[in-house]
Subunit: 508 residues, 2 copies
């Protein structure tokens, strides 16, 4: 199959002065116009069609043979650049495709995209009002609104847009630690008792990773058991807290999850909060995935008690379908972000500026330069309104329910959870060869091999993308994730049909 680059004939090499870093009409206008046209036609609209492929699978060597990935001495022409763009798009996974339901992000929201393109064209860094006035104020408004939606009075508190929910979960640890032990900032963890924190065994791995990175250590990130629905076992939490205290450690925080990564389970926030109060622990709620449900009157009960949290991670790039990345850390305490992270660099945060420097918010985060991830989300919010986000969320849950009910009645589908809480649905697809063999001694072992085989076919055909994983005692199962509100019930049937088509004759 010829690569897309063959469709565009290579032209003359670009001129000498094209090394310069400024867009100039005489040199770049034609190129930019053609490039934008390619983006809109081939990428934005071309790839969001159901008839497009979700993925054009190619092994590493194949991609390397089509796209000359190595940087070279000399420049290439504008025509070649356009061909390269087409190839990069072609061999990239089509995460904007309606049938890319593989991760907790998907779809390229049209308003989100335009907001992102505008951000790029403005190329800001958000740390001082001086260089990012609009973005600074926009962050303030959006974060306040999000805190109000969480349920904190008047939206008071503080917050920050982060490069991902993992880093947000790290901020939570940092703020909790600083809240109880401000000495850590200058003296390090050496200065304080041995700190331990708690999260569930089904929580996202970032809490443990960040605990390692932050010098606390994975052993001191204590995993709490979950019940059959994947929710944190509050009894076990109290046992583990007591055990830690008895062994001489000092508990300081619990990270509960509102929408776990695989099961979409919501930890019981109210009893967890009660324990946090009893033992004087910081309560962080990782709502990276489930946070979007707060926008829906119908579904926000899933996060009941979230207003009791000290801090919250909420990624609009997940359930609300903002472009990658859009992650927030929200905190009820007004000063802890600033006090815990400021370093007062004089070259950036001059106090003798002519405007109110309380708008220079850059010292409260651990980054220096920071992307303006707010605009794309704010722009979507303008375009759709809170009402639009509510409809979006309600549609996702409706689709998930429809898919669940549909596969419940269909041969070959076996649910992992009968009543999943969020929009991820977990199931095994049982091929013909395994039906009726449930009691065979090697059934589980054979079933474990099914998902990777279906996945391989799925990717090679490019008809959809759904992820699988094992978990605990459960052998490999599929997790389909609904996060694109343009899908409808027909699409739900499509997914089920595809599993049947790709999977029924699998031999294991």
């Amino acid at each position: 199959m010829p690569a897309d680059s063959n469709l565009i004939v290579a032209g003359e090499a670009i001129k000498e002065s094209l090394f310069q870093s400024l867009p100039e009409r005489s040199k770049h206008e034609e190129f930019i116009r053609r490039a934008v046209d390619l983006l809109v036609e081939r990428v934005v609209f071309g790839r969001s069609q159901r008839s497009a492929k979700v993925v054009e699978w190619a092994a590493p060597d194949e991609i390397k043979s089509v796209i000359d990935l190595k940087p070279r001495e000399g420049p290439v022409s504008h025509d070649e650049l356009l061909a390269i763009m087409a190839d990069v798009a072609r061999y990239s996974v089509n995460t904007g495709h309606p049938y890319f339901v593989n991760q907790l992000f998907s779809t390229v929201d049209p308003y989100g995209l335009i907001g992102q393109w505008l951000t790029d064209a403005l190329n800001p860094s958000v740390y001082t009002y001086e260089v990012a006035p609009v973005f600074t104020l926009m962050e303030e408004e959006v974060l306040r609104e999000m805190r109000a939606i969480v349920g904190w009075k008047d939206g008071d508190g503080d917050g920050i847009f982060c490069p991902g929910g993992s880093i947000s979960n790290g901020y939570a640890i940092s703020c909790a630690r600083h809240h109880f032990y401000p000495d850590v900032k200058s003296k390090g963890v050496y200065a304080v008792p041995k700190l331990v924190l708690f999260t569930s065994e089904l929580a996202h791995y970032s809490t443990k990773k960040m605990a390692c990175f932050m010098g606390i250590g994975s052993d001191n990130c204590i995993m709490i058991k979950t019940d059959e629905l994947g929710k944190m076992d509050v009894g076990d939490l109290e046992i583990k807290i007591s055990e830690a205290i008895n062994s001489g450690s000092t508990p300081f925080m619990v990270t509960a999850t509102a929408g776990t990564t695989v099961f979409g389970a919501f930890d019981p926030l109210i009893p967890i909060s009660d324990l946090c109060k009893k033992y004087n622990l910081w309560l962080h709620v990782d709502a990276a995935w489930g946070g979007g449900a707060l926008m829906s009157k119908k579904h926000r009960h899933l996060l009941k008690g979230i207003e009791l949290a000290d801090s919250v991670t909420w990624n609009p790039h997940k359930l609300l379908a903002a472009p990658q990345q859009c992650s927030t850390f929200l905190v009820r305490h007004k000063n802890v972000l600033k006090e815990g992270h400021s370093s007062n660099a004089k070259y950036l945060f001059q106090k003798d500026k002519f405007y109110d420097t309380s708008y220079d918010t850059g010292d409260k985060h651990i980054q220096c330069g920071r992307r303006a991830d707010v605009l794309k989300f704010w722009f979507m919010w303008k375009a759709k309104g809170s009402d639009g986000f509510e409809k979006h969320i309600d549609k996702l849950f409706d689709n998930a329910k429809y898919f669940l009910d549909h596969i419940k009645q269909r041969a070959g589908f076996k649910l992992v959870l009968e009543n999943p809480e969020c929009t991820n649905i977990m199931f095994w697809y049982v091929p013909n060869c395994l039906r009726g063999c449930e009691n065979d001694p090697n059934y589980r072992e054979r079933l474990h091999k099914v998902a990777p085989k279906i996945k391989e076919r799925m990717i090679k055909e490019g008809s959809m993308m759904v992820t699988y994983q094992p978990q605990g005692n459960l052998v490999n199962f599929f997790r389909i994730v609904f996060q694109n509100s343009a899908l409808d019930h027909k699409d739900m049937v499509y997914f089920a049909n595809e599993f049947e088509r790709l999977g029924s004759d699998i031999i294991v």
Copy 2:
């Protein structure tokens, strides 16, 4: 002055189904086409003209009165969205303007922008080959080439694109710590002796910030004196290492800087490396700013000895003018990133995939979702070639030299450093009222007040943007930063003229 939004008449409210998260031609084509046109005409070309304003200064309340920043219940129309885009652009600082020379980033490179826009349209997250095949391979090639340019044999080692140089400097601390004390990962900092690291008093604040965040503490980030050129004093480094050892602490790393943030000074890497060998310390070189000079045969000598480093931070978004953010962490040791940060999440890094899972590189970083910051830089590299980057760098240094020589001969300019090494030039502008008063007892105090006053005028007129700061004993001085290779000698004279115009009659 009427806001741009008045130029576009608000139209009918967008339709009900526009809450959906997928671009559809019938609903969005017209809007997207008009939005893109606005971006190309008004933002990309409109703002890169010398005749445009660098900033349209507005106080917070003014911006809030023009742009309705608060999220609302209902949607707004496409016409209103276009008007909002225009307003956001208008009140945002024009960082792409040739006369925005305020930070260590500037200009919106046309190829970088198109690369970024393509990335956004593909909306990838780089953690597995399965969902980001092209980006995974592209990162590998670009990072290898960068390591080769640093001077490591065959470009061997490892690396990662990070959300900013600050986080890169954090990775350096994490890798160094893991290299010597792998137990920290599970047991935390408690398990090891009291660690201390060293960096210069003029190093970027991120090393200290990250040391706090990572549980080491700012007291254990020991600041080394600098000489009159702003370079780390190697004698003082050895004294501080000995002192630390004698006081019972355990030195484990030195972060040297290749291009300091304010002075653009390059620490002497070879003698620092000798000390690191003598005391068995990890050598990290923060070349976030100066790294780009490695692309020039003429200027790479500034970083002599960088190949002796264990790890390097290099931000292509600074001297090489890639769009925000584009930051890399490069490390000579092949396995430390992975061993230090992996957590083997089974839901993402399944080992039974049908392809070679060594391409699933996401477990070596502390993020989960991660932006594909590589494409914009790679695309610029394609468009310009290494030759183009070399010309870019040489032009920047040539401009800086010209500006320096020019202001040396001009009344009112007083240099902070006679021979700065990088493309940042530091100077005081002395208004008429202060000339000849150098020996007055309150001269310094008065001079300190000049820069904020000039800056205020500058911003309110919008004719250029240059930052100022105090440093140590030095009262407020300007730092102009050359990073845009489309500037030429005439522009250098423009800057000097502007200082004279804005500053000569300042009264302090």
